[in-house]
Assembly symmetry: C2
Homo-oligomer: 450 residues x 2
């Protein structure tokens, strides 16, 4: 199972590093998985981390470096020479290699690439650097097993043995024609159970899912999830096989996507973590708070506009935070359901049906809450019937309108190709706060006549 | 890439079903992936869906049924006989089979199991039914390829061919001893490149990650993500190999976990979708709104307690929604970052450091916002300097306290083994609303002396 890295263990490692006790360090970390070593390194100082990286074999440290948090990797790489970085890159699969190189400065990029030993590997990495990181091209690796349709199973197995040396995991064997166009696939299972003389043409499965090199990462994730694929080949505009994407990279895409939506819903605009600097956290949080502050100014003006009613009906003003909070909560609920429906592609039916449903739902919820409000208000808080009625009617109206806004703002954003997750969080709460308060006082004015 | 199911296509299918034009239906759906057929079925009426399921081959429809949304599957299965359900189950891997059977009523379960054709398959399914669905046992399938340490590569390849018939995807070959204890694994790659006479003992890789049958699904997901595994063997309490979990099931766990956290943050307590019934949506949403309503009552009482100040300083009451909204927003931001840090296991450093950081961060944000508030307030809204100062000082204090609450409530919940995601959303906004208003008026009382 997963190894627990204790504080004690980190301290032991630190002492061994201070003592330069290389032998014990090597023995201690011998059986560690690179993901665990990466965790250890993230708990060390940069100097200690570099000491360890220089000590361990590059087939391990290359994977460790690929696994590190981006901030920490940046700091470590800036202390290593281009030659040292190239040695690490030499060990990595093309996709991880390209990811790391793309984080370097332009000058360093060229130097590191010039130091790479394997020319073919270097060329493939340079090719991958061309693609945007959020596309299939940015996710794919060049390592894959492919065979020619004109071979037979025997040639195929021989070739595969040679290719498999380079490829960590063999998922599918892709079949191409003489022009390197993807025309099918072989399953490992079929290969195990077919006579060696059979022509590849006769056993290949023609139906092969693939994605285009320019497809968005999110769409690749959706296809691979939907069809339960563990790897998918990537083709260029004219059908040439150019790479493959494996599910472990897609798992990262799914997780990052979910984290981004979650953060947007909470009013955090960049990919930040608890351990980022105060400056990074401020950049991600402050803009949303400023938005909310300006929203707050508007609600101050709205309330100010009804200030004359204060002498006659002071209780009305006691209820503004309640009304605003309910509007905010309902809006966030509605928008969250729609945002998820859009992400899952599970939003069916017409807009009209959705409107009718949303109104029925919020009418039901609103009535239950209004009854609770009336009874609690009359029995415990002891306020005036007319004021209670005003607040209750406003509550129902505000809930209906907040839920309609919460439902349709993300749908509209999505139609305009804006990330609908933007609509949850501070944006919807702030606008619903203002609207809720406005509706509340307009209804109060109507009923109480101030 | 993925097939787009249009409204037109659904209508065509519906017409063909009405006409009972089986031949055209079969031709039309011939090359469809089961995931696409599942999408089609979700857009049909239950009667139409059942017509299609009875028409298509059970090797396809079994996968379709496994793919369907739970609500729709329930409706469809309730229209099929136990024998028909058993025929579908016969085609499925044990994990999907057990998932579907576990959704049936107790009586139906027994009937369906009695109708299963393959006794071994039936026994394995019954074994899987024992496990909680949120554990490794609940996720695993019995289908796997295993070999005995005492065989050689040739026997192994023969056995694998036989076993591979049953197993859709071969990831790793697990090696067991005579007692069925997991002792290692073989890579397919090694098997391709080793002489057939080699003893398995000599090529097996002893280091094999595994999980215990009682481990939580979330922990399995974490291990498989961390170590980039595509399949992991599952062992019982004494190390017997009892099943394996594949990454496609883990992808679902990760997505569901993310959706649950997202929904909790939005104040939705059950796993609902936009297309669920109004009743289901109400059950998921109303409890949180009631919580918020009672929170609202408290804020009404707090404001009522300061009602006397209204004559002297009416502006104070205009600012309550602003203060409450800022408290809510800051609290949600802080808690979201902590909840994600807890989920990723990336929360490092002592509580004390976290407290210092959170206070510095919110002091910085608070000061920027207070300056904005003061300048906008003086120049545009034209309110009294003393009131502006009161609001500004309150704003900074409220932001600091809201961020501390947002940070520590999820940490405390997590320490007590309560899902910290509960702390985001309405819970934190409501309590921060109340506290924010209270602090605001206490500070106002101190400064303005009413």
């Amino acid at each position: 199972m997963s190894i627990e890295i204790t504080q004690q263990f980190i301290e032991d490692i630190q002492i061994l590093i201070t003592e330069k006790n290389n032998e014990s360090l090597l023995v201690l970390l011998e059986d560690f998985h690179y993901a665990d070593i990466a965790e250890v390194i993230e708990d060390l100082s940069i100097e200690e981390a570099i000491y360890l990286i220089r000590l361990l074999e590059s087939d391990v440290t290359s994977e460790v470096i690929a696994e590190l948090d981006e901030d920490i990797r940046e700091k470590i790489l800036s202390e290593l020479s281009s030659k040292e970085i190239a040695e690490e890159i030499d060990e990595l699969d093309t996709d991880d290699a390209a990811d790391i190189i793309s984080e370097l400065s332009e000058d360093q990029k060229e130097e590191v690439i010039a130091h790479l030993e394997d020319i073919k590997h270097a060329k493939e990495i340079v090719e991958l650097l061309r693609y945007d990181e959020d596309t299939a091209g940015g996710l794919m690796a060049k390592e894959l097993v492919k065979v020619n349709e004109n071979w037979n199973v025997l040639t195929c197995v021989k070739e595969m043995r040679a290719q498999a040396e380079e490829v960590t995991r063999v998922h599918s064997i892709y079949v191409v024609d003489d022009d390197n166009k993807l025309i099918g696939r072989l399953s490992l299972k079929d290969l195990l159970t077919t006579s060696t003389k059979t022509a590849i043409k006769d056993v290949l499965i023609k139906k092969v899912d693939s994605v285009n090199v320019n497809d968005q990462a999110e769409d690749v994730a959706r296809v691979m999830q939907k069809y339960d694929l563990e790897a998918i080949p990537v083709v260029d505009e004219i059908g040439h096989l150019v790479g493959r994407i494996t599910i472990d990279d897609i798992v990262d895409v799914i997780r990052e996507e979910a984290e981004k939506d979650y953060q947007l819903a909470a009013g955090i605009s960049q990919d930040v973590e608890a351990d980022d600097t105060i400056w990074e956290l401020t950049k991600a949080r402050l803009p949303w708070l400023i938005l909310a502050l300006f929203g707050g100014f508007i609600s101050v003006s709205v309330l100010g506009g009804f200030g004359d009613a204060m002498r006659q009906f002071p209780e009305l003003f006691f209820f503004t935070p309640l009304i605003a909070a309910m509007a905010g909560n309902v809006g966030v609920q509605s928008s969250a359901i729609v945002v998820q429906g859009l992400a899952n592609d599970s939003l069916r039916g017409s807009l009209w049906n959705r409107l009718v449903k949303e109104i029925s739902l919020s009418l039901l919820n609103g009535l239950v809450l209004a009854i609770l409000l009336m009874s609690a208000g009359m029995f415990f808080l002891g306020f005036d019937f007319k004021v209670g009625l005003t607040v209750s009617i406003s509550l129902v109206s505000v809930i209906i309108i907040a839920s309609i806004i919460g439902t349709f703002v993300p749908i509209i954003l999505d139609k305009r190709n804006i990330d609908p997750a933007l609509a949850t969080g501070p944006f919807i709460t702030t606008s619903n706060d203002i609207l809720g308060i406005l509706i509340y006082f307009l209804i109060a004015k109507l009923i109480l006549g101030f």
